[in-house]
Subunit: 202 residues, 2 copies
């Protein structure tokens, strides 16, 4: 067992239980190894054995840390989701604040299409679970799109309109459009723009 | 073995291999039994043992006929889909031809919401398979909604608009709205109407 990480040694009221230093290090090693393997061979080609070996960590530790392969995949996706959310909530325009709402909405659609394309395998895994499809982080995307629609002066049922729009960014939908319909991300970005503009009444 | 059904005794060029009479009867018995059991106790409460027993048919015949529980569920859904399709393609207005396209589109949304609610378990099973989500019968619904949008004078990317609208009728989405958000079918029908009217520019 390593010494506690000094950065997280002070108890914080209401904070999650502190990770021991070696647990935190193992977590980072395992996530880095998984990312590297997915980049090299795709998510389907990554086994839990490979991840443990590439991280130089025991397989028991890997399973204790993430529960299952699905658990590991969800943590990976979650970390990248957080970085993307930072960008559209606090980053520079046109994605972040400072640009007009419709401009931000169009930028969000194109950015999210790229993200969904890159992370297709992870998002598709999450889609298999109906609870995952409609819970966090899906809720955050819904809230963001709803807020932009409202700021753009959109009338009517904002929740339904946000849901209809977001369906065009669903991982399996995007993959279907690209693989089976022969569309590319530009074409899908234009489709998003068409529907977004109609809902905003422009 | 029973005598061949006289209605299907003549060979048809390009037709599927003819079913023997007893095979066709067993199929009908098994499907009826499955429908009855689902109506009584829900799809989750229906086992393949129950279906075979209720139909008075051997379990081996059941599995030979439908391959698996999933196969049986898909056949059931398929038959009800066909009846619904007849109604919106050839039935009386406002669902069928004769009513203005926007009226038909609004009627379609409300009818489909009821269908999806009734068949949630079967449709949700199909949703777990990304191929099923975007193939027949999904294609037929897309074609129908696209045709109505076009007839109503909708401009822009009709495919994307049809897809965005149809997302509001997705089985898991509808279930989520009802169970987790506390909405009812009327409220979901109004949401469909709101988005449909915006896309049609009314």
């Amino acid at each position: 067992m390593g010494a506690p990480d000094p950065l997280i040694a002070l108890p914080l009221t209401g904070a999650a239980p502190q990770e021991r230093g070696d647990a935190a290090r193992n977590r980072a090693l395992l996530l880095d190894a998984a990312r590297r393997l997915i980049a090299e061979r795709g998510a389907d080609g990554m086994s839990m054995d490979d991840v443990a070996a590439a991280a130089g960590v025991g397989k028991g530790t890997l399973f204790r840390r993430f529960g299952s392969r699905a658990g590991l995949m969800i943590v990976l996706l979650d970390e990248d989701e957080k970085a993307e959310q930072q960008a559209f909530m606090f980053g520079p325009p046109p994605l972040g604040p400072g640009a007009p709402p419709l401009t931000r909405l169009l930028a969000y659609g194109r950015e999210r299409l790229r993200f969904v394309r890159t992370h297709h395998a992870l998002l598709s895994d999450a889609n298999r679970d109906p609870q995952m499809r409609f819970n966090s982080p899906a809720t955050l995307h819904h809230t963001h799109v709803r807020m932009l629609l409202e700021s753009a002066g959109t009338t009517g049922d904002l929740d339904a309109q946000a849901d209809a729009l977001l369906a065009l960014l669903d991982a399996d939908y995007v993959e279907h459009q690209i693989h089976d319909r022969g569309h590319d991300l530009d074409r899908l970005g234009e489709a998003w723009e068409c529907v977004a503009r109609k809902l905003c009444g422009t």
